[in-house]
Structure formats: structure tokens, C-alpha cells
Symmetry: C2
Subunit: 468 residues, 2 copies
Amino acid sequence: MTVDALLSNSKQLSPDEVEWQLIIDAIDPAIRSAVADMVENHAAASVEVFYSTLLTHPEATPFLSNQIVNDHLHSALLRWLQSLFSATAPDLAQLIATQRRIGLVHARMRVPMHVVMHGARLLKNTLRKLLFEIFLTPADLSTAIDYIENMMDLAIEMMSREFVRDLQKEIETDEAYRLVTLGQDVTLEREVQRAALLDWGHKILLAICCNAPPPLPSLESSGFGLWLNHKGSLLFPNTMGIEHIRTSMRRIDRVLIPALSAQVPPDTARIHELQAQIEEIRFLMDDLFKESEALESGRDPLTSTLNRRFLPTIMAREVAQSLRREVPFSILMIDIDHFKSINDRYGHTGGDAVLRGVAEKLISSCRTSDFIFRYGGEEFLIALVETDIKRAFQVAEHIRENVTHILTQPTGSSFSVTVSIGVATFDGHPDYTHLIEDADRALYYAKAEGRNRSVIATDALASLPQLQ
Amino acid sequence: MTVDALLSNSKQLSPDEVEWQLIIDAIDPAIRSAVADMVENHAAASVEVFYSTLLTHPEATPFLSNQIVNDHLHSALLRWLQSLFSATAPDLAQLIATQRRIGLVHARMRVPMHVVMHGARLLKNTLRKLLFEIFLTPADLSTAIDYIENMMDLAIEMMSREFVRDLQKEIETDEAYRLVTLGQDVTLEREVQRAALLDWGHKILLAICCNAPPPLPSLESSGFGLWLNHKGSLLFPNTMGIEHIRTSMRRIDRVLIPALSAQVPPDTARIHELQAQIEEIRFLMDDLFKESEALESGRDPLTSTLNRRFLPTIMAREVAQSLRREVPFSILMIDIDHFKSINDRYGHTGGDAVLRGVAEKLISSCRTSDFIFRYGGEEFLIALVETDIKRAFQVAEHIRENVTHILTQPTGSSFSVTVSIGVATFDGHPDYTHLIEDADRALYYAKAEGRNRSVIATDALASLPQLQ
């Protein structure tokens, strides 16, 4: 049956079920039965090969161990293979539900999808070899290989879809937890952990001075150490600071404390080093909290425009919305002319005043539905939603005229500022970096043509030969 | 060559390069050359089949169109196929870089991975059929099929890894943008958009009263409408409120305004309906902002314990850390005994006071590195980091004794509260739901045994036959 026939003939089949039905319809029942026998006879050995190879995969080790494989996974994979290649026609709804559940469990366990695909590839290689031994006519062999490849691949596709969906939800929640916790409790958190660190420092000195019997309490198992490994690393992911603190902590626990507890009276130099390491940790921790405040603000503190790190979020959404709703979408790439010489002449205070002044003009020239980013040192990017190229050029010219004014310095001196603007509109390419490149090229052309002007990307493109 | 031989023989090969080299080493140069010829001759037709099928895939339509395929994707896929199956040995580093770049672009464009896998499956089916026509001995056929399947699958694996990595970063940034914007500008945002809605309402009434020539300005293209579609939907994703507002907006733009502008003098009933719809939108918008405030707080307002929605974040991390660092991890599932009768007897104020009182005892009994969740109505879950089962049971008993005390009501009446506690420890299973189920079972047993007690999951399991 064709896809259309399947979809129209039986109202009960969902699009997912149609996918499976197409594969199952293509196979002769006798061949399916032979494949089922083969899987039944060789599944255990195939699963053995599968896990012995996967256990050596570097990205599988965080969640795979011999014990987990033996206790849970070996029998689960066996059941999965047998249900996928059963001799009788499978219950499609159940088949789909199984693949989804596996995808969901993998997302919860953070088993990377590509590791699962790697495992499936190994299994397919093993099963394919067996098919060559069983099926002797090319026609039967071809059908059987198609059957095995498509059943396995479709199962992995469905797992993958569920995996990505669920992972997305989990990552959103992780990030929400991090930001909510940072936003609410961060000052209290910092004070509590500063105190916990000092408390441990006090206890350890006391133990050393009083010659307490070993083992002395380690910093890693103290309130501070536990917080760092379990909450700190969640609040400040991907930062070097946490790693530096861990290094100091290890030095204290594995070198300094054993040395101090072994010697009576304690070595004064070692005690000073211990104190220095504790100070170092305190300093690093303060830094962590400070850094995160700056990072979480989302806006450039000088100009109040959006932080560039949010550009992918906005551009991907707007491009998708343009495609889906068929509304226009344009961007402006704006660069302050001769900014370096302004900075050289009026100092950084002058430069900062210009940046603030230009940003104010940008904000007042745009609607509340537009997005204004600080793109680089003296560069801004504006995303103009539901705006065609003609209107975008008008906005650009309005901004350019608005900016070209006299900025009065607190010192009384004044000077004029101009900007060059590249204008580009969404042309249907789903990768937003193409749009940014278009605007960049137009801006480059505006600069090359003498600055203080707005240039449309397509015009710049048409004129490009002249540039060379 | 084996994996080990490859890794030790040539220091230059990375683990990824070894994967490719193994596939390439397994194929005879003559067969590789024949496959390369075949791909060269049939690639264009295969790509044609690929896109004509993929263009009907429901999840491919948001980013695939005939124009995009013809302008960009067709030739890109052709080049990809030819480079993957070249007659000469490929540059491995470049091969890997290509797959990664594709994965990254797919993540940026939000092309779902399973759609790519679906396309690859179609391509493999086409190529496999061709192989059966070319290779006549089973040995050659087997080698050629292995080669094509493994090259394609490994390419998809590498894309997948990059895709998930990059998607993760993008989702984090999306969520950060949303929360940062909600946290900072939300009150201003609400006021500005309320005003924008009123402003449009005023303009449209004026236009109707003055009998202005059509077309009258639509709400969707007003400042408010643009904000709703471009920023509101980003700030409040997955909420029904946005959809309800869109429905009202469509009714206004497509039914009410055309009707009002067609009739002179305007129909009073229609004007009243317009006003009612605007009020409805204002009401829905206020609701959206209010809801989001509650949702973003992260903590249960009554007990100040963590919102249950963060449970997956914490449990997945702690289970992974236990596996990796080989430290123990235990949880307590705590239920207030006879809570229903407390509520019945003392009313909701009494019930709330008990919940708050118990939560305070939990917080004071735990370390700052532990996590306390409101799990259900009268149920709490505590994640005790780096804590073995013996210590966890001690904490449970400490909590139980601490809670069993007399709560004095503001009215002067007093009553005693007890809790039942299920205690479970991480046993190596990477899916944290197993751990929660263990604790749940132990709690059930503690209840069945007469309440006001702590029960360890393994003990509960051993005693289960008695329960029946």
C-alpha cells in the first residue's frame, strides 16, 4: 500500500503508525518469520557484543557500568529486539509507545543520543552479517536487509524525537532553577557559605592546636564543601572559578591537613599556607558571585541595549516566524563612524557618552516590539519585526538623521556623530546567519562609500564588482 | 586494523578519526571506487527522491520550502554525498568537521534531528537498492552494504552529537532571556502594553466615529499586536492565555472591524462587542503576567520549600554525581499523618499552619547542601547529598522526633502532629525515578505499619510479603 492509500483506507492509523506499516507491508511473512527466528537465536549474543563495545565508549561510562548492564539493561535490550522483530504483526500503538518511553528515559538519564545510535549501528552490523548466512537469493536478502535496517532506524528516529523534546524541557527547567535561585537567594547564599568556610577554618585550627586525633575533618565533607559540589556547581556552571576552588580544596584535604596532623608541634609555615588557601577560596567565591551578577543582567550596562548572547534566541525565532506566518523581517547593522578617533580625542568618557547617546536615539526610533542589541564595541544590531526592506530603509535613514546631531560634552566642547547602516531583509533562508552576513556586507559597503549613509544589502551586492 | 592497533599505531588519530578509519579500512579499494562511481551517477536522482519525500514530512515544513531546497539544499546534499563516498581516501579531520558543522547549522535552524535521520534512511534505502544491481557476489555486496550503512550512520551520529550540544546551549540562552526579561522589565512591560492596547482602542473608535476611509488599522499590526506576537509569546511560552488573546484579536480584526467600517452609522451593538473584546484582552494579559510571577518564584509560597518542577534537575544531577564520584546519595519521602482529619477539624488555616510548621522542622534538620521539595499536598521529598542509608535513617528519625510535638494554635487549642517517612538510597540505577519509587514504597509500608515511623526501602521490600 502507498502512504496515501494507508492514510485514507484506515482512519485509525496515525502518521507514525503509517511509517511502521509501510515497512511491515513490504516484507513477506515467511521472511519476517525467518528473521524473527534468527533474532530469537542470536539476540543474546548480539546484545553481548553490543554492551561489551559500548562499555568502552568514553561518553557511555558516566551512566553505564557492568553492574547496571547485568542488572537492568541486558534483559531490557533483549526484550526490545525481540518485540521489534516478532514473527507476528506487532501492535503499532504499543511499538510507538515503547520507543517513546525509551527516548524519555534516555533524556532523563542524559544518555547522549549519538551513543544510542552508535549502539544501534553495532547491532545492525551484527544482524546484517547473519542475514547473509540465512538468505540465499538476492531478492530475499534485499527484502530482509531493508526490513531490519528500516525497523531499527525508525525505532531510533522515534526515540530521538522524544529524546530531544524531553531534553528541551529538562534543560529549560535546569536553567530556570539556576536563575530563580540566583535571583532570589544569592546574597543570603553567599553570606551563609562564607560563614560555613570560616567555621570549618576555625574548627580545623582548633583541632590542630589541641592536637586532636586524626582523621581531621576534610573541607570537602564540610558544609561548605558539600554546598560547592552540589549547589555551587549548579549555580555557576561552565565557570573556571569552581575548578580553581576545587583545586585549592584538594590541596588542603590531601596535602596540608595530612602533613599538619602528622607533626607535633605543627609546622608554622604549613599553617600559614592553610590560611592562605582558605583566603584564596574566599576570594574566588566572591568573584564567582560577582561575575554571575554581571552575566545574568542580560543588558549591556552602558547602553541598556540587549546583550549579544541573546541574539541567537531572537533571530532564530523571528526567522521561523517569518517563514511560518509569511511576514517580512528586516535587520539593521549600525556602526558609529570614526569611533576610534572620538575615543582618542575625548577619552573613554567621551566615547561612552557617544555610545549612550546613540543607543538612546536607537531606542526612541524603534517600536517596543523591536529588539536592539549591542553587537560589538561601537556596533548595534536592530531586529525590526514585520518590517519590509522599504520601511527598514526609512527607519535606518530616520536613525541616521537623528544621530547626526551635536553632542554637548560636560566640558562645554561639542562634536558631531554620524553612523553607517547596513539594511537587510529576510530572503527565505532558514539560517539566520545569512541575514546577518547580508547586513554586514551592506554596512561594509556603506563604510567604503564614505560613511554616514544607509545601504540596502541587495544594492550593495549589485555594486560589489565596483568595490574590487 | 583493530581499534587498539589504530590508536597506538598512529598518534595523530583522534577517537572520532579511528571510527571512520575502521570503516574505511574494511573496504576494498576496488569496491570503494565502484561505490564512488555509483554515487556519482545516481546522487542527483537520489537527492531528488530525498527532498520530494521530505517536503511532505509534517515536521519539515517550517524550514523546508521548494525555493530553499532549489536555492541551497539540493546542491549541498549532493556535495555531502559525493564527499562521503569519494573514490580516494578522505581527509578524516575535514570529514569530521563537515558533519559537526552540519549538526550546528541544524541546531541553529532548529531542524529536528529525527527528520534528518528520516531523510538519511530514505537515502540509504535508495543506495542499497543500487548496490544489489552492481555487486553480484555476496561477499562484495556485503562489504559494500556495510560500507554505505556505516559511513552514513556515523555521519549522522556525529551530526547528532553536535546538534544536541548546540541545541542545549541555545535552549539555555532562550530560557535565560525569558527569565532575565521577566525579572527585570516585567512591570514596565505590562504598563507599556496596557497603554498600547488602550491607545489602539482609542484610535479605532475615533476612526469609526469619524467615518474614516478603510482599511482601518488592525490590532494585529498595532504596537500591542506586534508585541504580543514577537515578545509576549517569548515571555509566556506554552500558555493558553496567549492563544486566547490571539483568538480575540482575530475576531476583532476579521469580523468586528470589517463590519463596523462597512456600515454608516456604526452598529452600537458591534461597538459594544468591540469594547468587550478589548476588555477581555486586557483581563487575559493581566492574568498572564500574574501567572508568570507565581510560576517563576521557584518556591512553594506557603512552606518556602522548592517547587516540585525542579525535582528532575536536582535528582538527575545528584544521581549522575553519585555514579561518577562514587559517593552515597539518599532521599526521604515524608508524609504528614492524618492530614485530612487535621484539615477537617481545624480548617485550612490549621492545615496551613501544620504544613508551615513541618517545613520549618525539615529545613532546620537539614544542611544547606540538601534539597527540600514540596512533593504533594502534605508530602515532602528531601534529597540528602553524600549521605548513606544509615545516616539518612538517623536524619529521618531526628525529623520524626522533632515534628512530633505540640503545635499551639492562635486560638489556644493545641494538637500533636506525626509524620511517616520512607528512606531510600541510590543503588546504581541511572534512572532516578527508581529511587523515588523505592522511597514511595517504604513510605507506603510505614503508613501500613501504623504511621509515625521511618522505614528503609530495602527493609520494606524484604517485608512486603507480610503486607499481602
